[in-house]
């Protein structure tokens, strides 16, 4: 259903000619080799591709964690490629939510506090409790990460990422460490958040089945975009075949 594409809100990321070269001694690795790509505001994109094809590298650059060797990344018209450390920090803080494969929760903070960590410094956040109920965890608010299952931890991470109402939600293999049933719960949480907050969401995954829940799918190969397809028909996360 093309009509689902919220392209009317405009392009949020405009990436062109993006190249990232890692040099370790004599060896030179082209992690990204001239990537051109756009993300529309509010859409959900899935990035697929074999291991080492450059997905994480791209996501890190888009998230302001890393800088490209050359090329341009425009976030709502602002160039990120040459931004200073301080600007990138502010960019991450104000606009980006991250979800990682290994959750990266703070072990010394409870679920609620992990979320509050972010809402404390955000300008227009939801309350931690709201964010946790969006991912169905209101009952486990006062548990420490060590007292939660992997899927629950990942949902806390999602709640933490969305609590500040980011414009961008970047997820690097969010289900990578989870079994299928838990993975589906996590995907449902992401889909719901995308729907309800309108955050532009990019999900890296190795599970080709997940592609169907996205508006748009980019496939990577050797540091380049091999294909870009729009899903006419999106499926619910619960229908994903693992």
């Amino acid at each position: 259903m093309l009509a689902d594409l919220p392209s009317t809100k405009g392009t949020i990321f405009d990436i062109s000619g993006l190249t990232k070269i890692y040099r370790t001694g004599e060896v030179e690795v082209r992690a990204l080799n001239g990537v051109d790509l756009t993300l529309e505001a509010g859409e959900m994109a899935v990035l697929l591709g074999p291991s080492g094809s450059g997905k994480s590298t791209l996501l890190n650059i888009v998230g302001g964690l890393d800088r490209p060797t050359s090329g341009s990344v425009k976030f709502k018209g602002e160039e990120l490629a040459g931004a200073s450390d301080r600007d990138l920090t502010a960019y991450r803080r104000d606009h980006v939510g991250f979800v990682f494969q290994f959750y990266n929760l703070i072990p010394s903070l409870t679920a609620w506090e992990n979320v509050a960590l972010i809402t404390e410094v955000a300008s227009d956040p939801m309350t931690p409790s709201e964010a946790l109920s969006l991912v169905g965890l209101e009952a486990r608010m006062n548990h420490f990460p060590a007292q939660l299952s992997g899927g629950e931890q990942q949902r806390v991470a999602i709640a933490r990422a969305i609590a500040k109402r980011p414009e961008v939600l970047l997820c690097d293999e969010p289900t990578g460490a989870l079994d299928s049933a838990t993975g589906i719960i996590v995907l449902e949480a992401l889909a719901r958040v995308n729907e309800e907050t309108g955050a532009t969401t990019a999900i890296i995954t190795h599970n080709a089945g997940i592609r169907k829940i996205a508006h748009r799918v980019y496939s990577f190969l050797d540091g380049q975009i091999a294909s870009c397809e729009l899903n006419e028909e999106r499926i619910k996360p619960s229908e994903v075949s693992w």
Binding site: R93, F102, S108, E120, A146
Partner: protein, 791 residues
């Protein structure tokens, strides 16, 4: 060349990677080694030198003086059971007139036999020769005095002996076991320029003092099996009819007592300071090794799985510990040796020994090395045992995630802490490892305590100066007559040039007794309401001396087991043997000696010989002080003069010099501990929390915010350490003050608020610098790496 085993290569790389932390630990160890070598080395140097010197010069075991005793009783003294040698002498105080020096110097003139060496208290001849028989104007002088004036054999000086000025020729420069620490009347520290000891032939002094066939001083050496107390008692009995002032042993011998108190300090230093450093070093080793082993769980499991024995793994980590210790021992050994030489030459300034070598015997280094290795291995033991106990299979699995607790229990309730989550992170981490937090806090408190313990001496000295020179003995000078005079003599003193006011005093040697406890002291009689020299009560308020009764210093009263209101038996050592019960009417405050005070009237009554005075305390017009000096040098009736103003100046100068030295040393030590503790714990926290902190950076927290998590945690410990450090410092200071206390002097325990503040500021400064060094590493955290790996 044998190639390094793989484990040893790992060891070398670990050390290279951890060099800064290892060095910080090694430095703490080095301080321990240094102070141990310094304290033990100096103790030995002093003890050995003293023993050798005393032995060679046959330093006496028992000493006594009398007014005038016939030489014939020497046989009776020698016959006392246990006495191995007797030397009778003529000893008197004199005033020395040195050309070019305005103020009069004081000194002792002591007889030596006309023929042969003394049987007791021999002299060590540094240069020149002893006087020749028949030459009345020849004398030897002690080295410290000679050096201060640049005297050499052949030089001359004037001295007032029994009222007659004599021009003496120096034949030799000597050292005397009685004056290793030579301190003049009224002085707190040696003033080599103003105090001299002169030795002359007995026959010359017999003539000068009209003491033919008599003596007024006797020293004995005892055989090994002698009963010292019995000898002292018998000697007292023999001397009593001749004005014996009470025999005493080396403990009460001024010079030896000062040496002893220096040794007490050194021993205390050896017992307290190195253990502090070694304790902290052990704790730091434990911290760094525990972390290393936690990080290397998987490697350890792998090593075990492929067949490395537990012993091999334990030895691997033990070697790491020992490698750090070796560096510490090496640095500490070198620093200790160098400082030891410095210390020996410092001692050389105060103590006159023929030689004073800083002991560098190998066993000292062996002991320090072993002690340091032991401390380090004890610190490492439990971490290493942890590695040994890891079963290979478990070791290969990642550790269970750290379980944290809510700060105040209620995890289910909706209770929220009023802190930011960053602060909560810091606090939870603190309570998660309470033992480590406590030890780190203690480790930071100890340098504060060390600083207080070393700096409080200056507060106490300030207080002593204020009390002694500005509240109690406010005179500019004290003049002592050769013989007791009638009361009118004070008017003669008042008429001396420059004297603005004079107050008479009477000094009588006496024995105080309470049951079997007894003590020889000087009772000082003064006017009831004195203004110049005052007796202070325990609150430092001047006391009006009561018409009857006696006042004793607190230490003396305690010695005798007396409290105000008790009766004390007083026997003046005037040869009459009268014993009188006198009420103790008050306890006084005194930092020097064992003092006993009475009103002059009461003392006169006690002696039953009418009103006599021994000297006067005077206030002098600064502009005419030189005239007074001149006059004193000419006045036969004045046997001795103590210049309180000059003593104070000298005391201050010596203390100031010491302030410089000890501040440098102790501040360095404190900074090294602080750095060792804070830097290491910050690095370890950083290692444990790198992932967390990097995650925070990913979420958009600034470097400053992220560092604040770590710095809050350190800050809490550093702040908690301050009051703890003050408390420990105060307790240490109490011990130090107690350790110093002797019959000669005591140090009041005064710690002024600025001392606490300065100690804390130094440690806070050290902590801040260490933390900032670690902060720079937070700025360089690799954000992407932590996202790729599981903890």
């Amino acid at each position: 060349m044998k190639a390094l085993s793989m484990l040893d290569r790992k060891l070398v790389r670990d050390l290279a990677r951890l060099w800064a932390q290892s060095l910080a630990i090694a430095l703490v160890m080095a301080c321990g080694v240094m102070t141990l070598i310094l304290a033990l080395g100096a103790t030995r140097a002093l003890e050995d030198t003293r023993a050798a010197f005393y032995d060679r010069t046959r330093f006496g075991d028992v000493f006594a003086s009398a007014t005038r005793a016939p030489e014939s009783i020497k046989t009776a003294i020698a016959a006392i059971d246990g006495v191995s040698a007797v030397q009778t002498r003529i000893v008197n105080a004199v005033i020395i007139d040195i050309k070019g020096m305005a103020e009069p110097a004081t000194g002792m003139v002591i007889s030596i036999p006309d023929h042969g060496e003394p049987a007791v208290n021999r002299l060590y001849l540094r240069s020149g020769r002893f006087p020749e028989p028949g030459r009345d104007n020849e004398a030897t002088i002690i080295e410290a005095f000679a050096d201060a004036h640049g005297f050499r054999p052949g030089d001359t000086f004037d001295v007032l002996i029994n009222g007659r000025k004599r021009h003496l020729v120096i034949t030799g420069i000597t050292l005397s076991p009685e004056y290793v620490y030579a301190i003049g009347p009224g002085d707190m520290v040696p003033d080599q320029k103003r105090f001299g000891v002169i030795h002359m032939h007995r026959s010359v002094l017999e003539g000068a003092y009209d003491m033919k066939g008599a003596f007024n001083d006797v020293s004995l050496t005892l055989s090994r099996s002698a009963d010292k107390d019995e000898v002292i008692a018998q000697l007292d009995t023999i001397l009593k009819p001749h004005g014996g002032t009470g025999a005493y042993d080396r403990t009460d011998h001024m010079s030896d007592a000062f040496l002893d108190s220096e040794l007490t300090q050194l021993r205390a230093m050896a017992q307290v300071i190195p253990p502090i450093f070694l304790f902290i070093a052990a704790f730091l080793v434990n911290m760094i090794l525990s972390r290393l082993i936690a990080l290397e769980r998987e490697q350890i499991g792998l090593l075990k799985a492929v067949g490395y024995s537990n012993a091999a793994i334990a030895w691997h980590y033990a070697k790491l510990t020992l490698a750090i210790s070796v560096v510490g021992v090496a640095i500490g050994g070198i620093a200790g040796t160098r400082l030891g030489h410095g210390m020996a030459s410092l001692y050389g300034e105060f103590y006159s020994f023929p030689f004073l070598v800083f002991s560098q015997e190998p066993d000292l280094y062996v002991i320090s090395t072993l002690v340091t290795f032991a401390a380090a291995l004890i610190g490492a033991a439990n971490a290493i045992m942890g590695a040994v106990r890891l079963p290979p299979a478990v070791a290969m699995r990642p550790p269970a995630p750290t379980r944290y607790r809510s700060l105040f229990g209620g995890s289910a309730g909706g209770f929220r802490l009023p802190f930011s989550q960053l602060t909560v992170m810091a606090l939870r981490h603190l309570v998660r490892w309470p033992l480590r937090t406590a030890l780190t806090t203690l480790g930071t408190a100890l340098p504060v305590a060390l600083l207080i313990t070393s700096l409080f001496a200056f507060d106490s000295v300030d207080h002593m100066i204020d009390t002694m020179w500005f509240r109690a003995d406010r005179q500019d000078a004290t003049l002592t007559f050769a013989l007791d005079r009638s009361e009118d003599a004070v008017r003669d003193v008042a008429r001396l040039p420059g004297v603005l006011a004079a107050e008479p005093f009477r000094a009588e040697a006496a024995t105080l007794r309470n049951g079997h406890r007894s003590r020889n002291v000087q009772i000082i009689g003064s006017n009831p309401r004195t203004d110049i020299s005052r007796v202070l009560d325990e609150e430092f308020a001047p006391i009006t001396l009561p018409p009857a009764g006696i006042l004793l210093s607190e230490r003396l009263a305690t010695h005798l087991g007396l409290a105000t209101g008790d009766q004390v038996e007083v026997e003046l050592n005037d040869g009459q043997g009268r014993k009188v019960m006198v009420p103790l009417v008050g306890v006084t405050n005194s930092y020097v000696g064992l003092t006993a005070n009475m009103s002059r009237e009461a003392l006169d009554r006690l002696s039953g010989q009418g009103s006599r005075i021994s000297g006067a305390r005077v206030i002098v017009d600064d502009n005419r002080i030189l005239d007074l000096y001149d006059e004193v040098k000419q006045t036969p009736a004045i046997a001795s003069v103590a210049l309180q103003r000059i003593s104070l100046k000298r005391f201050r100068a010596v203390i100031e010099e010491n302030i410089g030295i000890s501040i440098t040393i102790y501040v360095s030590l404190a900074v090294i501990i602080t750095f060792g503790v804070i830097y290491n714990s910050a690095r370890i926290q950083l290692s444990e929390r790198a992932r967390e902190l990097a995650s925070l950076r990913v979420f958009g927290f600034t470097n400053r915010e992220v560092s604040s998590v770590l710095l809050t945690e350190l800050g809490v410990m550093v702040i908690l350490a301050q009051p703890l450090g003050w408390l420990i410092g105060r307790s240490f200071s109490v011990l130090v003050a107690k350790g110093f206390e002797s019959d000669l002097f005591r140090i009041p325990l005064i710690i002024n608020p600025p001392t606490y503040a300065i100690s804390s500021l130094i440690v806070l400064g050290g902590a801040l610098v260490s933390a900032l060094i670690v902060r720079r590493r937070i700025d360089r955290l690799d954000l992407i790496r932590v996202l790729k790996t599981r903890d």
